[in-house]
Symmetry: C2
Subunit: 671 residues, 2 copies
């Protein structure tokens, strides 16, 4: 290594870049697991971006107006961790040494809420790409909401690093298309076209002209040598000067550079280089071959300068914001509340109450009313549909569409791009300041599963609205009729699934979702349902507890329990009436959310489902898998364990056994 | 309508096209549900393609060398049903009148195996596009396998109609990229860029240059007026003359043409036109306004000519095939067997048997051995991985890669395109003649769910191989560790999920999957597992029954049952030993497949899980949802109802309670 006294700027740059490389190699080697090659190849790009362009303050990773950086190829996590440590985030060298160990702050893939400076959880390819698009939408929306002439308080870029794998994934294609359409010019993405994937060279499967494809999406495309930091620097400058087109900088690097034996091979991708190769590589870069986790003092000094710079950047912004507050006190307070994720005082009071005369009405239709009541109170509730707005009924009334021309719109036209819709919502939630929602048919939750899972893992308040939630949708048939989707979503940790039984439960469902810190999945009907009289039945506020006694046996103890969700709750009530006239008193439990019910204490749960009553029947027009948890060994779950069929919804329900008669018969058999 | 005596060719064409339009309008109107606009707009394209190019025989929808036609926008099903009826398939006018009714042969979206002439189930957008790519791969592979100089017995095109929605979906992007890479020149796709979707004009969300995008993928792109059948005809001719590039013919039509009030609006997309508008439209086209389901005699005569033509086409092919059989008897017999979906005689005998000394070994590793043993016997077993071949270990050894240069290869490099891999596999299975498989990590089954579901709904023998099937994969962390996936897949109808416990169960798992008529999902470990001694434990042939007694209590009745799947079976056996030494005799049941076990008769199930033994513990390193079905109210399910964590696999297993100690403790608590 050159001596400090004589070091040139170029030499210092190189020393920093090699430090990033060696930290990544060493951490992967120590963990005996991980992906060294991409951090080594992209070290120069990361160094250039972070030290010369990215506006961030390591001392305050939450600074609202920071630039966002997304590492879409999450497997290159050591690149990010190295940068976070070197630039002075609260991430120690010991943390790096603990890479991929139990309870470390440096897990195998970056995790949101887990490591300071990690903007979003990545790993499943393509997600980070789409998350960044969501961040850029949030930035533009907040800018429209809060910026005033001469007072630009929201104004930042979204940078991402993407890999060959990211560019192959379909969700990327969807997100890139909408980003181009929306002219999200503040997106600046590097595509490391290193041409090496796990299975070898991309020539075996990926020979399209990516640059041309992105031009077709309306992106500004540049080609530079990813190993040349001057070129990279100039490309970023040009990208910043493009106000309307998102930028893709195609910057091939050499994976595993400068490993003598593994550079440019898939062997550098997903495995440690090996002790010997690490030594050889260090020797080749003029590094002490036996030093591990070495950070030369001048490197640390130079890179920790980012703290100073970042502190100044934030301080400058704070001064601007103070000025803004002086002129726009209300807006400033609102901005801070939104960034903190807070809802306006008294928003819950807007909860609408529906009376039987307002129905019968589909829960998707009351969903629209409820959404709009709350949207009036909550100005940062913004979302849209994957081209089913008129079916999902999730339009924020009185607000324009979010478009290239109007960034104030709260209605996003996601197009027929369900997966990107989910991932963009995650990016919006990760950005902060907005509460996103997205809607489609429940069947198409399948297209969104990777996004729903990442919302759950990350704890994003991203609200997934799914209408047409059963075979009750009718004629569209089995390709459109969800069966296994409720069970499948309930199986996913950290997701709250809610299937309201009527208009009032729908209101409470939205109330829960808006106040909840993680993702909610809301399942709504296409078909009309009666509105349950709140003066007769248990209060729909019971939604907040997941399950509640909707209608108990009259003047006697129940001999059986019928539990149901959503559209089948009224079937259960009808069965209760029929059974009562046969002198079989039963209790009906509405169970809109298993997850919320499971969070209640045992005494509440036993009060709703007394252990002594083992004659239990559940009815839900969906797969029965899991219902044994509630009906028990002696009970019976009525559901649909086959695909649906094309016919009018009522016919399908009847043919598949979702009928009052069937419920009555099952209860009679049990009591 | 013109009189027959004076009718010109153009007038007859127009009459046929208007018949397609009116049948579609009438059927949707009668059902009071459906999508009239696209059939009306695309009627001319369909007429041109089917009567002038598509090689098919309505009398034998299974003719092996027919051209394939895929209606990717499945909602336009009445277009397809109209064509099937008019050209003389076994689909009656009454069937059309029964559109979207219970048990009709004309469901809302086309369903494979349900209606003669329907090549694939479509509806969820993008799927048909990708299915066609799989069909083209199958055609090329079979051609390489069977064609001989001067004897071309496999040689057909794959045509598809696609919509704006199809082109927005990510899976289409993935499939288009690989199709261009593989130079699948026999793909000829029409893109009806009618610019109308449910939410309005595509200008609100879809403004990319689709033609340029497809050129970037390596496709041959043409732009024609979709309402001009001469242009369409010429475009098909040009597309056929392109041997190397798949063709996209961008042919905008007018949705709902010629409805006076609804043409070119989203009102024509997904709802009946209404009685009045149907009348007005018929009047405009010179049709008797009060006639319903009217098929002029000259139209029927003209279009039924397709039967004659098709019969001749097939007869010509049969003559060629007879000639082929004369020279290549063995190949001819093999071809027929493959097309019939039959496996070679005695293929099961290849089943490998593993001994304890062959292990410990990961089931993904034995999976590779098993795959290759069977692949040697079954020459049409062809598949690949989504860029994880070296991790999934699903390479067919001794066979080249399937590529533009070599169509004989049995290893497909799908790239990092999991979704397209699943959908392409479905298309291969639908084509027939091949048995496809595709592999990735279990976590990424999320990316494939829409394809898995369509495989299940369609009954495709598409084998989904998922490795890294639990938190036992270790360091990659929660973004890569499946939790809810087994439950989620078990909830899906018609899917058989198999999670073998060791090498021998892996062999039986593959044996089942190859012989099964629908999709199988195979979950394999990353980490090593002991091989269970077949001379000591229950035979791994028990896989075929879903669950079996692996190890019973010694010389006494068991007091408890431990049931487990996959890697946790050896945990269960260790627990059994520990409990035995504490004088608690227990039975261990290996339960590789719930679905297969559920198919057994009650006596077998009771023999494996005697109802009298209610002390039951299940152990599976996954979400517990659903296990109550087997452990019952008194039992206990050990699993992981949270996300995993990044650390060595053994550590994660231990920290999350998948341990012998935990199983032992739970059993002790129950007995």
């Amino acid at each position: 290594m050159p001596q400090t006294a004589t070091i040139t700027e170029q030499e210092l740059d190189q020393l920093c870049i090699n430090t990033i490389r060696t930290l990544s190699m060493d951490a992967v080697q120590k963990a005996n697991s991980g992906h060294p090659g991409t951090p080594m190849g992209m070290a120069g790009l990361a160094y250039t971006l972070w030290t010369k362009h990215l506006r961030f303050n390591p001392a305050n990773p939450q600074w609202a107006n920071r630039d966002r950086f997304v590492l879409s190829m999450g497997h290159a996590s050591m690149l990010l961790y190295s940068m976070l440590h070197l630039t002075g985030y609260d991430l120690t060298l010991d943390d790096l040494k603990n890479f991929r160990q139990w309870e470390s702050r440096t897990p195998g893939h970056p995790e949101f809420h887990h490591t300071p400076g990690v903007e979003v959880t990545t790993g499943p390819l393509g997600q980070g790409f789409a998350n960044g698009v969501g961040m850029a939408i949030a930035e533009q929306f907040l800018g429209a909401q809060f910026n005033r002439p001469g007072h630009t308080i929201v104004d930042h870029y979204v940078y991402a690093f993407c890999s060959d794998g990211d560019l192959m994934e379909g969700v990327t294609s969807e997100a890139a298309s909408i980003a181009g359409h929306l002219k999200l010019g503040k997106l600046i993405y590097f595509y490391d076209a290193n041409q090496i994937t796990i299975d070898g060279h991309t020539s075996i499967t990926f020979t399209e002209d990516v640059g041309k494809r992105f031009e077709a999406y309306g992106w500004h495309v540049q080609h530079v040598d990813g190993m040349d930091i001057a070129q990279a620097n100039a490309a970023i400058e040009r990208a910043k000067s493009e106000p309307e087109r998102p930028s893709l900088i195609i910057a091939p690097t050499h994976i595993g550079y400068p490993s003598p034996n593994k550079q440019d091979t898939s062997a550098a991708h997903g495995s440690p280089l090996g002790e010997d190769e690490v030594r050889l590589t260090k020797e080749k870069m003029g590094w002490p071959p036996d030093a591990h986790f070495l950070i030369p003092d001048e490197v640390l000094a130079h890179m920790r300068h980012c703290r100073e710079r970042g502190g100044q950047l934030e301080a400058d912004w704070k001064a601007k914001f103070a000025d803004y507050r002086g002129k726009f006190a209300k807006e400033a307070a609102q901005f801070e509340a939104q960034i903190a994720g807070e809802l306006p005082d008294g928003w819950e009071a807007a909860l609408p109450v529906f009376k039987p005369g307002d129905g019968p009405i589909a829960t998707r239709k009351t969903g629209r009313k409820v959404l709009n009541v709350f949207a009036q109170k909550i100005p940062n509730l913004i979302g849209g549909s994957a081209d089913l707005a008129e079916s999902n009924l999730t339009v924020v009334e009185g607000s324009p569409s979010f478009s290239a021309e109007d960034r104030s719109g709260r209605n996003i036209h996601f197009g027929i791009r369900e997966h990107a819709m989910g991932s963009i919502g995650n990016g919006m939630a990760a950005h902060g300041g907005v509460i996103p929602f997205g809607s489609t048919f429940l069947i198409f939750s399948d297209y969104q599963r990777p996004a729903i899972r990442l919302a759950a893992l990350s704890g994003h308040r991203n609200i997934f609205v799914f209408t047409h939630d059963s075979v009750g949708l009718g004629e569209d048939g089995p390709t459109h009729q969800p069966i296994e989707h409720l069970s499948s979503l309930r199986a996913m940790p950290n997701v709250v699934v809610l299937r309201p039984a009527d208009a009032n439960e729908t209101a409470w469902t939205w109330r829960f979702a808006l106040g909840h810190s993680g993702p909610s999945v809301i399942a709504l009907t296409r078909q009309n349902l009666p509105i349950l009289d709140q003066t007769v039945y248990g209060s729909a506020a019971g939604v907040m507890k997941g399950a509640y006694v909707l209608s108990d046996a009259k003047n006697t103890d129940p001999r059986a329990i019928i539990m149901a969700t959503g559209s089948e709750v009224s079937v259960a009530l009808d069965a209760q009436r029929t059974l009562a006239s046969a002198n079989i008193p039963v209790r009906v439990v509405s169970m809109p959310s298993w997850e919320l019910f499971e969070q209640q204490d045992q005494s509440y749960r036993d009060a709703v489902l007394p252990p002594t009553i083992t004659a239990r029947v559940s009815v839900e027009a969906a797969a029965t898998l899991g219902w044994e948890r509630w009906v028990g060994t002696r009970g019976h779950a009525i559901g649909i364990d086959r695909f649906g069929a094309s016919a009018p919804g009522g016919t399908v329900m009847q043919k598949l056994g979702i009928t009052v008669d069937n419920v009555v018969a099952q209860v009679k058999e049990l009591v």
